[in-house]
Amino acid sequence: MTTVVAFVSQKGGVGKSTLSRALAREAAAGGLSVKVADLDTQQGTSVDWHRTRLQAGIEPVVSVEAFRTAAQALAVASSFDLLIIDGPARTSQATLEIAKAANLVVQPTGPSLDDLRPAVREFHALVKEGVPIDRLLFALNRIGTDAEEAAARRYLEEAGYSVLAGCLVERPAYRTAQNSGRAVTETRYAALNGRADALIQSLIDKV
């Protein structure tokens, strides 16, 4: 049976593609057949990243494909062990469609109130539409300090949602890795790879 993990957000730049790629990379390395469905056809960031990765000959090969609609992406799910939906920087009727079909819906967020408040409102909307709350997870990204992480985590938990253990810290090395077609678990720094891996592992543990 196919597992569907969706990364959604109303905002851009919060880490949907970053986490999609990392999860895909780890799943592919673990021997799963995995597809990343890039639904942001206007930007196609994961498609571009995939092209860069292929050109650089980085293993394992991760399959990324652009889909215009959520329904088209979900239609191919049965062909894979894991379908990862890299959503557009916008929530819509399609977000609800994705959330109802997905095993897990992950919303990455930064630690500022400008990120956290709208993120909570988006999950509230899914809950009101009947999406089980235990399918909804937050992932913390662009964290500067332990205190910042703790405050953001507490804020989201007080709103009633689960937050993945671990976080992605704000480091240029993560951007550098992705610029060259690598995932955030494939930087030049073992400690950063370990942090990213811990976050992805906590996500896998939730499936």
Binding site: R68, R90, T91, S92, R121, E122, H124, K128, E158
Partner: protein
């Protein structure tokens, strides 16, 4: 040293309270793809007049043109240019006004 942590008041999160459930976003009602920006009304009205058979001259700048007037350029001899401007200046007419009168005169005598 004694552990006094139990006596400390529960400190509030510096980020404050998260939004309540009744503050959920309305974005789930939005269509999957953002709507394409509407064609400016003046262009739309021009297009509709075109469909009804009226003359419609279009180019790449149509979207920001009022189409109230059109550019009209041609090449003339120096003598014609001098005569035309002399008459316009003498009679206090714009070039376009003299051109319109010229066309009217031509059609009325043809």
């Amino acid at each position: 040293m004694a552990d006094l942590s139990k006596l400390k008041k529960d400190r509030r999160n510096p980020l404050g309270e998260p939004p309540a459930l009744n503050e959920a976003s309305n974005n789930l009602a939005a269509p999957e793809h953002a709507p394409v920006p509407a064609v400016p009304s003046r262009v739309a009205s021009n297009e509709s007049s075109g469909e009804s058979g009226g003359y419609q001259r279009r180019d790449g700048r149509s979207a920001r043109k009022t189409n109230r007037t059109l550019a009209f350029a041609t090449r003339v001899s120096e003598d014609f240019d001098r005569r035309f401007r002399d008459v316009a200046e003498r009679d206090g007419l714009l070039i376009v006004e003299l051109l319109e009168k010229s066309l009217d005169a031509y059609e009325s005598k043809r």
